[in-house]
């Protein structure tokens, strides 16, 4: 069968299956299980309506269970095993003892401190500066555009920015070209400078996430009642006082949501590190460490343990984020 035809058949079967499921399950509920007829018509209708939401929820719950809940439980179980036998927290003990894990953990904290703060700050700055100017929307689109690039694509772009060629030859990396031109010194392998190279990797994520922060914060800034700003003008506040004492406090809730959302992205950061340094030169992070354990060392136990650590770090922030987002919507 032609692949296109195959795809069409799959789509038809999937969509048809969904429709058939809803039609048939409701039909069985209304006609067979609790028919709205006879002596118990009223009671049956009520019972059918109690069950109906679950009919609609069932497919989603089933797939979420299969693809989200089960893997979490299975990973947790796997992290307690070694070579198919239960070893308690042995994997965790081994992992904590590894210097590479410590390095990953430290780097993740570094990412956690720098990236959300920088992205939110740049986003807020961009949102405020592009507000109410004629070409603000064009500027916003340009700043937002990196969001549309995959992390790997962005990494390739920035790898070229950090590229170093032998001294004396033309530098194709933007940073080295500038560096050599300004200082006259030899080009630097930026990605091999310990500690600094972490920062160079973070720049990629900041570049991507600032656009996201800007869009959300720009909308929030627009939502500030204009009168409060005018009242502040009459009260004698200058532009900085208006920004920091009137505008920012009014969008504090949104700033927190943006901050925590980026924090979650940061904790999961993997692609950028994999594509740019693969954790060499002391740039390892937890997600890439986990990937190393799983798919390079084929150590399922320690890989799972690393995964559990990442989840443990993300969960509280995620809960807080959802709680904040809900409060914002009210």
């Amino acid at each position: 069968m032609h692949p296109a035809l195959q795809a069409l058949v799959v789509v038809a079967v999937a969509v048809g299956g969904c429709i058939a499921y809803f039609l048939l399950s409701n039909l069985i509920l209304d006609k067979v299980l609790f028919p709205a007829r006879g002596a118990n018509a009223g009671r049956n209708t009520n019972r059918a309506n109690l069950i109906r939401p679950w009919l609609f929820l069932f497919p989603a719950l089933a797939f979420l269970g299969l693809y989200l809940a089960y893997p979490v439980v299975a990973t947790a179980w796997m992290s307690l095993q070694r070579d198919n036998s239960f070893v308690g927290f042995e994997n965790y003990r081994l992992m904590f003892a590894e210097p590479k894990f410590g390095e990953s953990f430290f780097n993740n904290i570094l990412w956690l401190v720098v990236v959300p703060a920088a992205s939110t700050a740049f986003g807020l700055l961009a949102a405020q500066l592009t507000d109410r100017i004629a070409w603000g929307n064009i500027a916003k689109s340009l700043i937002f555009m990196p969001m549309a690039i995959s992390f790997v694509g962005a990494s390739v772009i920035w790898k070229l920015v950090y590229e170093a060629r032998p001294a004396g030859t033309d530098q194709i990396g933007l940073l080295n070209a500038l560096y050599v031109w300004v200082t006259g010194a030899d080009p630097v392998q930026w990605l091999q400078l310990p500690l600094w190279n972490n920062l160079f990797l973070m720049v990629v994520l900041i570049w991507i996430q600032s656009g996201f922060a800007m869009v959300i914060l720009a909308a929030a800034l627009r939502g500030i009642p204009e009168e409060t700003v005018e009242a502040a003008v009459l009260d004698g506040a200058g532009p900085f006082q208006i920004f920091f004492r009137i505008k920012v406090p009014q969008i504090a809730g949104t700033i927190v949501v943006v901050w925590t959302t980026i924090t979650i992205t940061v904790l999961k950061v993997f692609d950028i590190v994999l594509a740019m340094t693969n954790g060499q030169w002391e740039t390892q992070v937890l997600a890439n460490y986990m990937y190393d354990k799983f798919f390079r060392a084929v150590d399922w136990g320690m890989g799972s343990a690393a995964a559990m650590i990442i989840m443990a770090l993300v969960t509280p922030i995620l809960v807080w984020n959802v709680w904040n987002a809900r409060r914002e919507m009210r």
Partner: protein, 361 residues
């Protein structure tokens, strides 16, 4: 102490002039009310005085100092916004002290000013609350308090009562009147579209229409001697009746033969040249009374509205005459579908030619 002078003030957005040739002298201690229909430019004029809108022509000065290019905070004004414009993230106390903090006043000074204002406005128990925990009336008082603490020369009010319900509006109106009493030396400019507010609060009313001043005067001047048909119909409720006619008798007392057939006598004097002039006779509904003699108007009552102390009578428009409204004392619902003859005292009858009152030519 503040005298405000507007000389030929204009506001243009590109080609469109929304305000033209505004000339106004406001003296210390006055409470000036800008009234007018929606879009007449009254709020824009207030915002120009505040400095929130640029003045595109003419001169505006406070106490003789030209203010066109002075930043809002240095004009010595304070403004109360329609939407209160409280800072939602600050407590009542912080809202009221913000301006003083910006001005780097001492802590003790700020606390004293805020406590005093809170006492005047009965806000003391609410000082540590956020605006969202206050009722509409309390929020409006906080907004007023925020103005008071700055001790400005000029208070500006932009429709401060329009977000309040009817009962609260009346109460807050009286509070503002009392506030004015307590501060006889402060100048206040007040924008509203509610003529009751205008009539009760104003020392002088400025009626704006289509971007120009239609008339400036005390509330009673505007009521008794409107300069033109616009002011005549804008002030007073229901609006003044305008009846077309022709001047037939001149002198100290003018006689107009109305198109509806009646005769109107007016205390507005006319000259020989006025004989045969096409005019509109203006009579307020409350000045019409029943008569057995010469009628100004005779017609059938279409609808009655008994309001208790008065009854409004709506007459059907007869041939060649506009529909007419009369306000008779007492409860008179039985007048429905009756034919009634009405007249009015000559000194209550206005005459307008080409829209302008003959009193002002």
């Amino acid at each position: 102490m503040a005298d405000l002078v507007l000389k030929g003030v204009e506001k243009a957005y590109g080609e469109v002039k929304v305000l033209r040739d505004i000339n106004l002298d406001i003296q210390t201690g006055e409470l000036i009310v800008f009234v007018g229909p929606s879009g007449c430019g009254k709020s824009t004029l207030l915002r120009m005085i505040a400095g929130l809108e640029r003045i595109t022509g003419g001169d505006f000065s406070i106490d003789g100092v030209r203010m066109n290019d002075v930043p809002p905070a240095q004009r010595g004004i304070a403004m109360v916004f329609q939407s209160y414009a409280l800072y939602p993230h600050m407590t009542v106390r912080d809202n009221m002290s913000f301006a003083l903090k910006i001005a780097r006043k001492s802590r003790a000074e700020i606390a004293a000013a805020v406590d005093k204002a809170a006492r005047i406005l009965q806000l003391t128990p609410y000082l540590d609350r956020l605006p969202k925990a206050l009722s509409g009336g309390q929020r409006q008082r906080v907004a007023i308090g925020r103005s008071i603490v700055r001790d400005p020369k000029v208070y500006l009010f932009d429709e401060p009562l329009s977000n309040l319900d009817a009962a609260l509006r009346a109460a807050t109106r009286i509070e503002i009147a009392q506030l004015k009493e307590a501060m006889p030396n402060s100048t206040m400019v007040y924008v509203t579209h509610d003529q009751v507010e205008a009539m009760t609060l104003a020392s002088r009313i400025v009626v704006l229409a289509g971007g120009t001043i239609a008339q400036v005067g005390t509330p009673l001047e505007l009521y008794e001697r409107p300069r033109n048909e616009f002011v005549a119909q804008f002030i007073g409720s229901p609006a003044m009746n305008l009846l077309g006619g022709e001047v037939v008798g001149i002198g100290e007392e003018t006689i107009v033969r109305l198109d509806g057939g009646g005769l109107a006598r007016s205390a507005v004097p006319t000259m020989t040249a006025d004989k045969g002039l096409r005019v509109n006779v203006g009579v307020r509904p409350e000045h019409l009374r029943e008569t057995d003699g010469d009628a100004l108007f005779t017609g059938e009552v279409a609808i009655t509205e008994a309001l208790g102390e008065v009854t409004l009578l709506y007459f059907t428009a007869s041939e060649g005459a506009a529909p007419l409204v009369a306000k008779l004392p007492g409860i008179r619902p039985n007048l429905r579908h009756q034919t009634l003859s009405l007249t009015a005292d000559p000194d209550k009858v206005q005459i307008f030619a080409n829209g302008t009152s003959l009193l002002y030519r």
